[in-house]
Amino acid sequence: MKRNVTLMGTLIAGLVASCFAGYVVKAQGAPRQVEITAKRFAYAPGEITLKKGQPVVLVIKSEDVAHGLRFRELNLNAKVDKGGSAQLSFTPDRTGDFVGHCSVFCGSGHGAMTLTLHVVE
């Protein structure tokens, strides 16, 4: 009887611990969300600092025509419909400055529409 109670206690403790462990892992891995507005011919903010290894979601919202955001070096690309939004989810795995460009032709200043990511330790 005593042995059964001990076994049951261990099982319950293990179950509770595993639930909390999952919660802790999830809390640590929760991505940071950054909202970006895209409007001819700039992003706001134009520069973002991220931590290496910290998951992030960039939420890009267009305030006028269709736009995009592409980081060639990071192999990331999102296209945003006119007035719509799109997300880029990733975890920076190296430090440095990365310049993203609008990837949907949006007019005469399209080529100068950039956003810089500063990834730090």
């Binding site: 460009h101 005469s108 200043g109 399209h110 080529g111």
Partner: protein, 156 residues
């Protein structure tokens, strides 16, 4: 001092003749081509930072389609461009030896700043550096003439 009316008329006539968009002669073409390749178009030694692979080529084709096609056609060889032969200087096929003899750096220079006094405009700021270098890759590997159809704007 009064100029005779005949001189004034002759001067106007000469000026108007100079404005006529007639095709350049062989000597004029050879001289200007030499000058562009060896004097006016700089940046000969700059290398393309992009790998010339299928993905870059596709990027270049897309960037080219934004407005280059209005004068150069979908294939870069003037297919379907109704005025290609009627302006002076005529629009060259990008597959021609005259264009292909430019280095990658010179092609980028032309894409950035255009060529004066031809109708070729500069695209620096309108297209990104990435897109312009991708267009250089596209120009180096143009599709067969006529294979891409004609620009939509000339379809109506």
């Amino acid at each position: 001092m009064r100029l005779p009316a005949g001189v004034i008329v002759a001067a106007f006539a000469a000026a108007l003749t100079g404005c006529k968009a007639s095709p350049p002669g062989k000597i004029e073409t050879a001289t200007v081509t030499f000058a562009k390749h060896h004097i006016f178009i700089r940046n000969k030694s700059q290398k393309n930072p992009l790998e010339p692979n299928a993905a870059t080529w596709a990027d270049g084709k897309e960037a080219f389609s934004h407005y280059c096609v209005a004068c150069h056609g979908m294939d870069g060889q003037n297919t379907g461009v109704p005025f290609a032969d009627h302006i002076s200087p005529p629009i060259p096929s990008l597959a021609s030896d005259e264009v292909q003899r430019y280095s990658d750096g010179q092609l980028k220079e032309i894409l950035d700043n255009g060529i004066w006094p031809s109708g070729m405009p500069g695209s620096k700021g309108t297209l990104s550096d990435d897109e312009l270098w991708a267009i250089v890759v596209f120009i180096r590997h143009l599709p067969p003439a006529g294979s891409q159809g004609i620009p939509e704007m000339y379809n109506h």
